[in-house]
Each structure stands twice: as structure tokens, then as C-alpha cells.
Point group: C2
Chain length 415, copies 2
């Protein structure tokens, strides 16, 4: 089975012209859902799917599916679906999403050109609004396809200007009437760039993702007393920032301790605000938003518990009031053994060095893992950079990982 590296590259390079941005280094694009760039990217994809003889349909939230029904298969058998997304963050890279979408199409084209005999149809899928960059909800299209979110609820989401997803999709002509129900799929595979450096470190051409980490978000609030920074002696203060700084270090220490057992555990205070935030006033209140992830849900719970313990200690020792609200808790998702085994064998068959790892970034695959056998492959990312024009995956690596994807899909669909 031959991957046409040139054809794959041409598709990716053409896709990169939609929403392209100026960048001193690298190549970037801004493709927000419902924009002209999104319409161009989708129309080009539909054309390329049709060029390959696929039957294209679009659902209500704009998910695009191209079906190939091999001549010798049962056309009513549950399909193996494969794909990714084409939207981007503002000034994102040209591989995050497109590699998985056009890698999927190239996989189908390679299987078509081979003498493989398949038992079931193949669906090439492009999901809407994976990044959540316009409507604020990531992996939106796949959450609807997996039945986790109501279609009408998704269509009613608004961007910062109050424009609904429904209006956006109507405007670009991608408000379809097909049904796309991932619960009817036999299996799902996605290829994505790693957005990390573990493949490079292992000198591997493909990453076999075992699980996607869960995410917990918490808001931590520490309240002291606003006082004049000049006339309030050191020993008469209840400084919310000093107290919150102890918390940040406690969080880091707890995450590091847990990480000696699993490197996937991370805890971050990345967003924060001081009130009143005036140079000459002792801080009254500090809020931090936490991002806690792991492949082990119990470890995430333990880290949240360590945060609560830290805050209770700081309340006692510093006289502040502290609270923690856990406002999001997405559990980890394990990939199916069936998909992992198929991908492992595929890498071996194609002579591509593989490494097993986890994904700490969220992907559409996390939604699908709950309703069908799901697998996720990673291609190497130069320097681990993504969401930036500096994001890069060598063309050879694109082709190599797409070859493993093709072999995996062929294997999954052959029975």
C-alpha cells in the first residue's frame, strides 16, 4: 500500500493557503468556524473527497463525511471512520487538524489503490469547531456526533459578537441535513501532530496514544484585607497575594510529588487576577484558575484534595479566607485495545518506529472513545510547537504517519 507523499503534501499546502497569515518564521493560518477561510477549506476538502470517488454528506453542525463503499463489502456494515478537523486557533499552524483530515483521505486513496479487501465502508470525517476558537467550546462537532451534546444547543452557541453557529454555517453553506452518528461506527481513528517532543526524543515516526488525559479546572480565591501599603505595618497585614503565592508553590510541589509516579500528572495556575491590583494597596483578593490533568482520574482527585489541604493550612496560618471551586471535571479516556493493537501491528508492518504515549491535549477522539472503538496516532512535531506559525511536521513524517494510519484503517475494516 503506497502513500502518495506528493499528493498529501499538495493537499496540505493548498489547505494552508486558506486563512493564511503573515509570519516572520513558519507558516500560519487563521481558520475560524464560519469564516470565508473556513468555507474555502471545506469546499476544497469536499472537492478532493469527490475526486476520490467518496459520497459526501454534511450534518446540521457542519461535520463533513465522505464515504467510500468498497465494491466487495457489505454496504450496510458499520463503517470505520477516520479524520480530524480543519479549523484553527488564531494564527495557528498548518498541520494541527489538516494532517489528520488529509492523512485520512490519503489513507483511503492508498487503500483504494491497493488490493486490500474490506468488510465495511470507510468514512473520512472533518469535524466542526474542534479548537473552540470562535464559539468557546472545543471538540464541538464531535461532541454532537457522539451524542454528548444536543444539536440545537450547539447551533444556538454564539461568538463574541452574538452570531450563532447556525447563522455561520448557513452563511458558508455548510448547514447540512445528513445524520452523522458516531455511535453507529465500527471504529474511529485519528492522526494528529503530537504537540510535544516525546516522539523526537524516542526517535519514533509515530505515537500510539494509549489514553487522553482528563481535565479538571478549579477556581481558587484567596481573600485577605486591602490596606494602605505604606501605613500598614508588616505584622498587621492579611496579604492575599503572599497567601496565594504559598498556594501556587504548594500546588507545584504536590503535582511534582505525584508526577514521580506518573509523568502525566500536571497542575498549573496559568491565569490569575489580583484585586484591587494597585501598587500602594496590600492585595485584598487573588483568584487563580487551575488546570489539572492526568491519565488517572483518582490522581486528579488527589491533586485537588492536596490543593484543598493547602488552602485550609493557609487559612489557619495567615487568617485569609480561601475557597476552591471545581467547575470542570472531564475524566481521562482510554483508547480501545483493538485500535491500539491494530496500530501497533501497522507500524511494525510498515517498518515505522513507534512509541506508546498519552495525550495531554484534548482531541475529538476523546468524545468518540466513549461510544466506539477509538484510536489516536501522533506524528512528530518539530520542537513540540503548535498553535503557532512555527508549528511544523516534516513532509516525510506526514507521509510516514499517514502510511501507518492507512494500514491501521485497512486492518480495522478488513473484518
Amino acid at each position: 500500500m503506497e502513500i502518495d507523499a506528493t499528493r498529501l503534501r499538495e493537499d496540505l499546502e493548498t489547505n494552508a493557503t486558506f486563512g493564511t497569515v503573515d509570519a516572520d518564521v513558519g507558516r500560519g493560518r487563521t481558520v475560524l468556524t464560519g469564516s470565508d477561510a473556513d468555507r474555502c477549506a471545506r469546499e476544497y476538502l469536499v472537492g478532493r473527497l469527490e475526486d476520490a470517488g467518496l459520497d459526501v454528506r454534511v450534518d446540521a453542525v457542519g461535520n463533513v463525511v465522505g464515504r467510500w463503499t468498497p465494491p466487495d463489502c457489505d454496504p450496510d456494515a458499520p463503517p470505520v471512520a477516520v479524520g480530524s478537523h480543519l479549523d484553527s486557533v488564531p494564527r495557528g499552524g498548518i498541520f494541527d487538524g489538516p494532517l489528520g483530515t488529509y492523512g485520512a483521505l490519503e489513507a483511503v486513496r492508498a487503500i483504494q489503490a491497493s488490493d486490500a479487501s474490506l468488510a465495511r465502508p470507510l468514512d473520512v470525517v472533518c469535524f466542526t469547531e474542534e479548537e473552540g476558537a470562535r464559539f468557546g467550546v472545543g471538540t464541538l462537532g464531535s461532541s454532537v456526533a457522539a451524542g454528548h451534546r444536543d444539536t440545537e444547543e450547539a447551533l444556538a452557541l454564539t461568538d463574541d459578537d452574538g452570531v450563532t453557529l447556525r447563522e455561520c454555517l448557513e452563511r458558508i453553506g455548510f448547514d447540512g441535513d445528513a445524520e452523522v452518528d458516531a455511535r453507529e461506527w465500527d471504529a474511529w481513528m485519528e492522526l494528529h501532530i503530537e504537540q510535544g517532543m516525546r516522539l523526537t526524543a524516542a526517535e519514533a515516526g509515530v505515537g500510539l496514544v494509549e489514553s487522553i488525559t482528563g481535565i479538571t479546572n478549579c477556581e481558587v480565591t484567596v481573600t485577605g484585607e486591602a490596606d494602605h501599603a505604606g501605613s500598614t505595618p508588616m505584622f498587621e497585614r492579611t496579604d492575599a497575594l503572599a497567601a496565594a503565592s504559598e498556594f501556587v508553590l504548594d500546588l507545584e510541589r504536590a503535582a511534582e510529588e505525584l508526577a514521580t509516579r506518573s509523568e502525566a500528572v500536571v497542575g498549573t495556575a496559568g491565569e490569575g487576577r489580583i484585586e484591587p491590583n494597585a501598587r500602594n494597596i496590600v492585595p485584598e483578593r487573588v483568584r487563580y484558575h487551575l488546570d489539572i490533568r492526568d491519565v488517572d482520574h483518582a490522581a486528579m482527585d488527589r491533586l485537588v484534595e492536596r490543593c484543598r489541604t493547602s488552602l485550609a493550612r493557609i487559612e489557619r496560618t495567615r487568617g485569609v479566607e480561601a475557597s476552591l471551586t471545581r467547575y470542570r471535571d472531564t475524566p481521562p479516556n482510554e483508547m480501545s485495545e483493538r485500535c491500539l493493537t491494530a496500530a501497533d501491528a501497522a507500524a511494525t508492518a510498515r517498518g515505522v518506529e513507534s512509541v506508546r504515549l498519552y495525550s495531554a491535549a484534548m482531541h475529538d477522539t476523546a468524545n468518540l472513545a466513549a461510544v466506539t472503538d477509538a484510536g489516536l496516532l501522533f506524528a512528530p512535531s518539530v520542537d513540540g510547537v503548535s498553535h503557532s506559525p512555527r508549528e511544523w511536521t516534516d513532509w516525510d513524517d506526514c507521509a510516514r504517519a499517514s502510511g501507518v494510519l492507512a494500514e491501521t484503517v485497512r486492518s480495522l475494516a478488513s473484518a
Copy 2:
């Protein structure tokens, strides 16, 4: 010498009607330089100065001076000046500034009504833009009067809307052409509310300020690396917020250690910013603005040095880059022994319990201390609150402290 407590209260209550704001608790006002409220407050003051027989003049930056030349004095002798300011912060209190301005006028009226024999004239002074709430530069009028700042430079300052001080003063008719040069004064006295609780703790009716703390402001920048909060393992991070949190605690510890020797030493990180400040990105950069004060300039230097040592340590242990820029350094100002001695004797003569203390808040007096004999008296502040409608000084305390002010001024001007 009799203070007319009712007359003083009526002046303060009338002044409180200019720029008055709604407040659930207390009485507040917003009197920004050049506003209609400021014009009303100034016009009422001018009228009250003239009612008392004072010759009023206004200088280019709007400083108002009312001179009383006692019949038996040398009219050309350097005057004793006494006063404060009438502008306020947004939603400030009704005593911060006005007590010192109308307390000065009441002192002169009391001296006029007494049989005191003075050797020199008395100037009642109201300085422009003490709070810096509109033009961003505190103690502005007194800095010009003391020759620390050029008149034209002050007049060219702009507010947030680009309006100059010159335009503001022209609009309200307080762009005068008189000369007000504090270097020609024999002495200066100011009465102000304490904005602290040491008078209450000492059950004293008046505070004799020995020195006004210096202020150093620094910008501290800690730069790490922005990384994906999910996919960057704990041990591969250079987290600017964790590093900056260590610094905040080092600053606190160093200030507390120095404060065991002098309670005036304070160090505060009150204003800060995280970049990029996104929940799912490890912080790349944190900036804090520091406020460091003491009555001992060398101790301020030591605290800045401790900050530099902390940052150097954190650079070594955490691999961040850190910098500290000391962008403001106002040295402490000692009040003159002559004024302190006169005030001490005045409190004793009037049977008012006094306590010696320092001022950690900045006052116009700090500018004048460099060019003439200067003294500063404090009246008690209920609960130490200021810059708020809850700011309060009991009317009896206003009168009592004004009596000490009158006796001090009489004593200073008698020779």
C-alpha cells in the same frame, strides 16, 4: 486662644457638599482637579479666606494662598505658611485635605481673635492635585511651589483624556499669575488625618510626625517559558508564576525581618500581571510592582538588595530570567526640630495628649521639608480608614487638633 469648633465644622460640612457622592455608609466626595466640584470648593475657600480678611492670590498651577499680615509685624518678613489640599481621590472622604485647609484657616482666625503678637505674616495655603487622581502625579502643586518641578512641565501634564492641567485651570478660573515660592517661607505646618490607628491606640488627640517615609517603587519581571499546561511535564517547565511566587514570599520575609528593628519598613507587591494569563498555558512572564517604604533610606536600600538577592537565587534554581528596575526613589523626609518642638509645646499648653510617629503616606509637607522648616500634625482617624466615604474624624478631634495647630503656628510666627 479659642478654636470655634462650630465654625470649623460648618466650613468642613459645606466643603463636603462639593462633589458629594452616594454612599451607604459615611460621607464621600469626588473632587478631581479642574472639575466643577473643584471650582466650587476653591471658590468657597477663597470667599472664606476673604471673609477672614486675608489677601488671596493664585499661582500658575492653581495653588491658592491667603495672607494675613498682623498689624504689628514686619510685612516683609518671611511668612509662616500653613495648609493642605482640597482635591480628593474618586469616592474619597471629607477630611483628607479639607481638615488641614480649614484647620489652617481656623487657626489664623483664632490667632486674629487672640492677643497674640506676631513677628511675621501668616499664609493659608491650598495646594493643587495632592492626590494625583487626575494627572497621575501626587503632591503636584507643592512640588512646583518648592521648586522641585518646573511650572510649564506641570501645566503640560495630561489626564486620561489628553486634557492638560493648564486647560483645566483656565476652565475653572484658577490659572493665576501670582508667585508662590515655598523657599521664601520661614516655616510650614500641615494638619492631616492620620489614616492609621496609632493615635487611637495611644489615646492621643494629636500626632507629631517626626518623619515621612521615603518610597521606592520597583518593577520586577520574571520570565520563564510559555508551554502547554497539559503536555508539558512538571519537570520540564520554567513556570514564571511559581518562580514569582517564591519572590513574593522572599520579599515578605525580608520586610518582616527588617521590621523587627523598625516597624516603618514595609515592602508590598500590590500590583501584578501574568502573561499570557491563560488557564491552559504555563505562565511565561510575571510582572510585579513593588512599594517599599521606611523612615530610614538605608533600610529601603537593604530591602531592595534583598529583593535582588532573591531574584538571583530564583534565576539559579529555576532557570528563569529575572530583573528588577528601581524606577522611583523618594528619600525619607525628617520634620524640622524647630517645628516639632513648637508642636510638642503647643500640645502640652493646650492639654492635648500627643504621640510622636511617622507618616507612611505621602503628603505635600514632604516637598516642603526640603526647602523650609516643616512640620506635620495628625488628627485621629476612626478605624484608620481613608480614601473612602467611611473615612471619619470626630468633630471634637478636628477642633482639638486645630487648636494645637493654631498654638504651633502662633509660636513659630512669634519670633
